[in-house]
Structures are given as C-alpha cells and as structure tokens.
C-alpha cells in the first residue's frame, strides 16, 4: 500500500472579518509519496488558503490534517515549526531569499536549524542541491546579484535541503517568464520522477498543471475534481 504523505480530512475554513464567510468547505484529499499534484482554480477560490493550512502555517480551521500519518491538530506552535522545518519544503511565488546571507547560506539555514548534521556536512549537501539545480557557481554570491530564475532555483534548493517528504509551491512560476517557468517545471518533474519527491503546487497556469501527474481543481472553496 502506498504511504500517504499528506491527508486533508474534512477541512472547513472561515474568515471572520468583517463577516463570517466560508472559504473552504469540506476539503478532503490525500497525496501519496512521489506524486506530483497541482491545485488549480480561479483567483479567490481558496487554493492558496488551503495550501497555507496544509503547510501548518494557518492553524485556524476545522477538520484534520495529517502529515506523514501524524495529526497536526494538537501540536503547539514550536512543534509545527519543527514539522515545517523537517518535513515540508516551500517554494513561493516570490523567492524570499535573505539578502544578508550568501546563496549557499540561504540554502543551509533550514538545515542548520534542523541541526541533524554538522555545519560542514550541511554545506556539502547545500552544494549538492545547488548542483542538481545547476547554480553551484553562484553559491557565494548574494541573492540580489542573481536573476529571477536563478533566485527561484535557489529557493527550490533551500526547500530541498532537509530532504522533506513534501514540497509545496504557491505559484512558483508566477513571477517568471516562459523560459524560466519551464525550467522550474522541469526541475519539479525531475524531482518527482528521479528522486520520488512528492510535490503539491498551487498554480493558475493551466498549461503547467496539465503536465503534472494529477490535477485538483477547486472552485468556491470546494474541490470539484480530484
């Protein structure tokens, strides 16, 4: 039997301000290891909201969320941070690299936080990840010296550093041109197929979604197609 890396169980979410509005209703799906899944839907359909719930950053919801078979419901803030650190890799629309640190250090930071390996070992691993993404030459530059596509690849390397069980992306190609967007997609595809990395990507780019293994389509806070 395939292990489920991520399970969303009857998730409901409301916005309370200014009036109570239901943004997610009874969302239920799961993700197996090595799956490359995209969530699509129109702007405002709740797909980003769902992603932030799935990523444990938003805890104000009803229902249950299991990551790697463990429920996230009762966990405290620090424990959730630990889960994000260890099991989830993030790629956002904007790269969110820290300009104070070199590219290499940016990739290393989550690894150093996890503290599973010595700093030297984390550095080697960071180099490895950068090599997979073809940007090891830029390792010692500052993020603001890189192009948009390069930055996004550094962000992916950072997401990979702790070898998470799932990578989540919020419109990771949204800010990129066609060429860089395709390149990022190819990287994701390679990660899924060569390294059996589970990926969950929110996008409104139907072309991007069409090439993934599975599409979850959302509308008005509900899943209309799994």
């Amino acid at each position: 039997m395939e292990t489920k890396v991520l399970e969303a169980i009857h998730i409901n979410k409301y916005f309370h301000d200014p009036v109570k509005v239901q943004v997610l209703s009874d969302v239920e799906f799961s993700l197996s290891k090595g799956e490359f899944v995209s969530i699509i839907g129109k702007s405002g359909c709740g797909k980003s909201t769902l992603l932030y719930i799935l990523s444990t950053m938003d805890t104000d919801f009803e229902g249950d969320l299991k990551i790697d078979g463990v429920s996230m419901l009762k966990k405290k803030e620090a424990e959730l941070a630990q889960v994000r650190n260890e099991k989830i890799g993030f790629v956002f629309q904007f790269h969110y690299l820290l300009n104070e640190f070199s590219v290499l250090r940016n990739v290393m930071l989550p690894g150093e936080k996890l503290g599973k390996f010595a700093v030297k070992e984390i550095e080697n691993r960071a180099y490895e990840k950068l090599k997979i993404l073809g940007i090891e030459k830029e390792a010692l530059k500052k993020p603001n010296q890189l192009s948009g596509g390069q930055k996004q690849r550094v962000a992916i390397a950072r997401a990979l550093i702790n070898e998470p069980i799932i990578i989540m992306g919020d419109e990771p190609t949204g800010n990129l041109d066609k060429k860089n967007g395709d390149m990022v997609f190819d990287i994701f595809k390679e990660l899924a197929e060569v390294y059996h990395q589970s990926l969950l990507i929110v996008t409104h780019d139907n072309e991007f979604a069409a090439k993934t293994h599975r599409i979850i389509e959302m509308a008005d806070g509900e899943i209309i197609k799994k």
């Binding site: 994000r84 690299l97 300009n99 104070e100 503290g115």
Partner: protein
C-alpha cells in the same frame, strides 16, 4: 549549536543595518559613560565631604554633661515619707566635666572587639592673648598618636610636624584661622589665659587646618599632659573619650550600651551628623536617577531601531518561520540583537566612563579650605561599573523584549500572501 545559529543570524541582521546599530550602541555608550563619570565624581565629592566631617567625628563620643544632680539633697530627707518636693531654680551640680575612672574605661574599651580605637581628649576653653585683645578659643588636649591613627590628624597639620606636640612640652598646634588673627608663625610663643585666670606660655609648633574656617578660628591642639597642666588638673583628668568602631552602623546601639555601663553621656555619629548623612544620600540619589534616566532614554533608542528593523525585515521573519524557525527562535534572534547592542555599547561605555573619570581626576581643583585636595575627587568604586554593566544589559533586554515579541507574533501567511 542552535544558539550559535541564532546568534549568527542576528549578527548578520545587525551588520546589514550597521549604521543604525552603531547609533543605538553609541546611545548606550554615551549614557553608561555619563553614568559612570557622574557617579564616580559624586561619590568622590561625597567622600571628600565625609573626610571633612565624618572622618573627624568619633563613632561614639563619651563625655559628661553639665546638669543638675538627679537626686537633690531634699530627697534624702523625704525618703520613705509621703511627700512631694517642688524645688525651684535648680543649678547644675558643682562637678567638673571630667569622666570618672577614665583610665579603667579606656582599658575596657581597648579590649572590646567591636572597638577599632580609643582616643582620650581634654577640651579646655581659653583666651588667646594678643596684646591687649583676647580671642576666645578651644584647646583640645589629645593623645597625638591615637588621634592620628583614628582621625588622620597628620593630614590637617599644614605646617610643622605634628609629633612635636608630644616631644616638646608646652607646645601648641594653632588653628590656621586663629594663627592668622594672632599674626604668629611656627616657632613663636603665644600666651593663653585659662578660664580660671592662669596665664600660660605655649610654643607654636604647627598650624592646623580642617577646611571649616569657623573651626580653624578657635580650635587648637596640645598634648594631653600640656592640657592637664594648663587646667591645673591631675594626670587622670579626661573630659572626652572618642571611640571608633569596626562597624559604624553599630554606633547607636553601642552608644546606648556605654551610656548605661559607664554612666556618662554617649553620642553616636548618626545622631551627631544626621543632616550630613541626608546630604550624602540625596547627592547619590540624584546621580543615580540622572544615570538611570540616561539609560532609559538609550533604551528607547534601541526600542525604536529594533521596531524599525522588524518592519523592514518582515519578509525575513516570515520566511524564517515558514522554513521552520519557531516564534521563540525569532524572539531570541531579536533579543540577541538588542543584547549585542547593549553589551557592545555598555562595555565601551564602561571604558569611556573610566577614561572620563580619570580625566576629571586630573583637573586641578584648589581651594583654601581643603589643603589635601589638589584635583577634583573621583571614587573608582567597582560597584558603579558593575551597576552600569548590569543596568545596560537589563535596559537593552527590555528594549529588545517588546519588539522581539512583536516579531515572534508575525504571521508568515499574511506577509507571504501580501506580495
């Protein structure tokens, strides 16, 4: 490992905004510098004034008060009778102001562990005869060596050798003010008239200056034997016993005890100089409050800069949280930024404070009334440095605490979605 990482991150954030950081640190440095310099200077002044008054005052002073006898003769008669006596116009009893059995008291005191030293003294009222004019004066007959040991007599003898008082019989160390009035020099002879009318020739062997001109105009010193001769009393005549204790705070208690034990009047230093203590206390209080206000202002500076930094670094905080740093970690990062500013600025401040104190210590300060003081007085009490150091860390911790708490509560979702 984790602490190192957190410090590493906060240091990088610090260096990214090093100019602002420097301004914040300079604020702390400035306030600590002023704090140290102010306190050292104030304490120096206090010490100087204490030296002027308190060090010359015995902790416990034993003497005999001239007062009416407690048991009037009539009470002998009325003993065992049901009667009340109303006596008008009572006069003090005809008793000399001497302490009875003084030799035994001094012996007993010297054996007591609480007592640091005992110096006997004779106080005699005299007139200094200058031609036809008589100036009132007080001659203190002292045990020269004991007096010097307890009250640092030597430093106030500005001319002549204080030990001559003991060696040369019928010698006197004149108060500087009195000597000026009498137009005499060291080596001259002067004539004094005692209250009994005897006239005595004394040789001036030195001048004494306490710094308080009212005292210097009347006070002079002779040896105990000279004073006894002057008054025509026997060699066990002592009017005052001055006691220094090992612990000055015990003085009121000890005074009460001795009053009962030796049947004399006993005055403790706290009662004798209460207004002086208040003055010292108020001066310290003022300097502490100014120093602490300076530090609080510096603290607000740090608070502002950290708040600004947090607004600027919202993205950084959000991504740190998204990639697994907990709110506590973020809080630690910002608190360690604040503490770095505090420790860096504070230690520089301690250094500069020491420098500034040392500079003040070099500024010439000459006043006729204070012969021993050549420069502004400074007290290099390590306690000030400890207080300054601790306070700089405490202030910056609190200045960092609130912004850090705010940073720890940043919701990464809002920041990340906001783009």
């Amino acid at each position: 490992m984790k602490i190192k990482l957190i410090y590493n991150i906060s240091f990088s954030l610090l260096m990214a905004r090093w100019k602002q950081t420097l301004v914040a640190a300079i604020g702390v440095t400035f306030s600590i510098t002023m704090f140290i310099a102010l306190l050292s200077f104030m304490a120096g002044l206090n010490d100087m004034l204490n030296g002027l008054m308190l060090n010359r005052t015995p902790h416990v002073h034993l003497y005999n008060e001239i007062k009416a006898a407690e048991n009037q003769p009539i009470s002998l008669f009325s003993k065992n009778k049901r009667q009340y006596n109303f006596i008008g116009s009572i006069k003090p009893s005809n008793e000399l102001p001497q302490i009875h059995n003084s030799a035994a008291i001094i012996q007993a005191l010297k054996k007591n562990k609480r007592v640091l030293g005992v110096a006997p003294k004779i106080i005699a009222q005299v007139f200094y005869n200058v031609g036809t004019i008589n100036l009132t004066g007080i001659i203190n007959g002292i045990d020269v060596e004991e007096e010097d040991k307890l009250f640092d007599f030597k430093t106030n003898v500005i001319e002549g050798n204080f030990l001559d008082l003991k060696i040369i019989s019928n010698s006197i160390i004149l108060g500087k003010g009195a000597a000026d009035n009498m137009l005499v020099n060291v080596g001259d002879m002067i004539q004094v008239t005692t209250t009994k009318g005897d006239q005595v020739q004394l040789k001036v062997v030195g001048f004494y200056q306490s710094g308080i001109s009212e005292i210097d105009k009347v006070q002079s010193y002779t040896s105990i034997t000279t004073a006894q001769k002057l008054l025509g009393e026997s060699n066990n005549y002592i009017t005052d016993i001055q006691i220094k204790l090992t612990d000055i705070l015990q003085a009121p208690k000890v005074a009460k005890e001795y009053k009962k034990l030796f049947e004399v009047e006993a005055l403790d230093i706290q009662t004798a100089n209460s207004q002086f203590e208040t003055g010292s206390f108020v001066r310290s209080l003022i300097s502490y409050s100014v120093g602490i206000v300076l530090l609080i202002v510096a603290g607000f500076g740090i608070y502002n800069i950290l708040n600004m930094m947090i607004f600027e670094k919202m993205d950084t905080i959000a991504i740190l949280k998204a990639t697994g740093f907990s709110g506590k970690d973020v809080k630690r990062i910002f608190i360690s930024i604040a503490l770095t500013i505090g420790i860096f600025g504070g230690s520089l401040g301690l250094l500069f404070g020491f420098g500034l104190s040392a500079m003040i210590d070099q500024i010439p300060f000459k006043t006729a009334s204070l012969p021993t003081i050549k420069t502004y007085p400074i007290n290099y009490n390590p306690m000030f440095y400890i207080i300054g150091g601790v306070f700089s860390i405490v202030t910056t911790y609190f200045a960092g605490f609130f912004p850090a708490r705010k940073a720890s509560k940043v919701d990464p979702v809002i920041i990340i979605r906001g783009k």
